[in-house]
């Protein structure tokens, strides 16, 4: 019943000119967001872009320097307690207790949320089973793998199902299998009605999970929109080819240009070349044309644009680690 109170048009998250500095560093530098309930919203940005700082302010963990932010209509500063009743946070660093078992961690959460002893135990058991941790329920968390720890961390956030969940880089450092599990979990959570704001450094992940994406750099939103639009603005996937014989590259280039209808890019490695590949059927034709002229490829791949390429397109420069100060911004 709590979950449906949001259908009256109040956004799950609304920010206006939100700002936070640490000394000289403008970690978040004027962010405006309006996110409706019931969606997965992706915040995409490189190291130091201000993603965690943004989440910490929205989750009432950090006081903004300026601007405003509200969660389901409640101000994050003035009504922090009401905000806390609606949200959960799974921070970038796993916030589970290494010195306890998985089950004990979840009982701890349940009790602190207000469940009685018995109900806290039941809830812990339910979540352990649902999040595929049954085999390790009674093991110390310090013995968990990264993926298990992440799942436990998310489970701990769901002891009481929140209306809004913050996930700060939920798949950083996970192998593909664990990453897929986390993706499945995210999809299940949003299906249950929980709004999710997740941060990531991978365009692929934002694309996979989020309906809308904000690209953040140096504390500012540099692009925002549905993931399809964003990708279209960046350009579509690219076909990468490596030839056995670098001498055949000129001819291979001609063939790819002909079949794909776009100019090819020649890589620094004399055996490699690439070209935009929007259409799968034409990619297959193009590869067919190469083998038709006995041009042997040792490797080929179709890749989505990387975050680096997104950045290059959106800003005309590479994504850097450290944020620049105000004066070096164009």
């Amino acid at each position: 019943m709590v979950g449906n109170m949001t259908s009256n048009g109040t956004p799950a998250i609304r920010t206006a000119g939100l700002r936070k500095s640490f000394g000289e560093t403008k970690a978040v530098d004027g962010i405006d967001l309006e996110i409706p309930p019931g969606v997965v919203y992706g915040v995409l940005g490189p190291n130091g872009a201000g993603k965690s700082t943004l989440i910490r302010m929205l989750a009432t963990l950090l006081r903004p320097d300026g601007g405003s932010a509200s969660i389901f209509g409640h101000d994050v500063v003035g009504e922090a307690d009401r905000v806390r009743r609606r949200i959960s946070v799974t921070g970038q660093a796993a916030s589970v207790d290494d010195a306890l078992t998985g089950t004990e961690n979840l009982i701890l959460m349940g009790r602190l949320q207000g469940y009685g002893r018995q109900r806290a135990r039941e809830r812990a058991a339910e979540l352990i089973a649902a999040f595929d941790l049954g085999h390790a329920a009674d093991r110390l968390v310090s013995t968990y793998s990264g993926g298990m720890r992440r799942r436990l961390d998310i489970a701990a956030s769901m002891t009481v199902t929140p209306d809004l969940l913050f996930l700060d880089e939920p798949t950083a450092g996970l192998d593909p299998r664990s990453r897929n599990q986390v993706w499945d979990i995210v999809r299940a959570l949003v299906e249950s009605g929980t709004t999710i704001l997740l941060t990531t450094q991978y365009l692929e992940e934002a694309d996979e999970l989020a309906g809308r994406i904000a690209v953040v750099d140096h504390g500012r939103i540099i692009a925002e929109g549905p993931s399809s639009e964003l990708k279209a603005s960046v350009g579509s996937a690219t076909l990468h080819v490596r030839l056995r014989d670098p001498g055949q590259r000129p001819r291979a280039g001609e063939l790819l240009t002909r079949e794909l209808g776009v100019p090819v890019r020649l890589a620094a490695d004399p055996a490699r070349l690439s070209a935009g590949a929007g259409d799968g059927a034409r990619v297959i034709q193009a590869l067919g044309a190469l083998s038709g002229e006995s041009i042997e490829t040792v490797e080929f791949a179709v890749r989505q644009p990387s975050l680096d390429e997104v950045f290059l397109t959106l800003t005309g420069r590479k994504a850097e680690d450290a944020p620049v100060r105000e004066e070096s911004r164009a």
Partner: protein, 277 residues
Amino acid sequence: MTSSTPRVADPVLAAVSVRERPPRASALSATVTHLWRGAMAFKHFPAQLIDMMLLPIIFLLLFTYMFGGAFAGSTQEYLQFFLPGIAVQSVILMTVYTGTAINTDINKGVFDRFRTLPFWQPAAIAGNLLGDVVRYVIALSVTIGLGLLLGFRPGGGLPGVLAAMAVLIVFGFSVSWIFAAIGVVASVPERVSGTSMIVIYPLVFTSNIFVQPDTMPSWTQTLVQLNPISHAATASRALMHGTAGFWDVMGALIISAAITVVFAPLAVRLYRNKNAR
């Protein structure tokens, strides 16, 4: 490719579709939960019990046999004087655990998670401090037990010893708020014990735990008399030997209350504001 991946989505959907919100945990239940958390951690790592017992044993043996003869003429005589005093130090050394535990939580992000939960926040500190009471009892039992084996004969008998233990537990509880505050402020857990020792050892050595200040110059005597640890040691001695007057005990209790009144709100405020700015 994904066929080997267990399908977690469906059970997860079932588990999170439960939309119930229990009433807010009471302050007491939140505190008891934190106490339980400490007890579980202790259960998983019982080896810390050995650390806790070793320190008081080493100090007791070291001082009794190294300095006893020099300070009091005979080790037996010194033990009668020294044991109630070193019991204070045994307790004080245990107060560091809370600061370290709180700091570890802050650094690991457990603290962030707690802060978004709707329970009475000081419970996180209070639960830890109550857990420390168990440590005080262990440290005191080891110290006094070994003392009895070595020839300590308390004139106050069992009631005197128990009363002294009670006063020292109150004193330890108050002092642990200081280290809880240090635990909130310190950058890493290792710094907590370092900083705490810098506070503890000067205070311990400028107290009357080891020698009576009679023979000292008058300014040192004043220093010793102002030292809260001296008051705790005086109460401990008087109670164990059955010579306690009203003010011997009240002195220690008043000091404990004063420390708590200053440092408990400070620690809680620092904790609540940590990282918020």
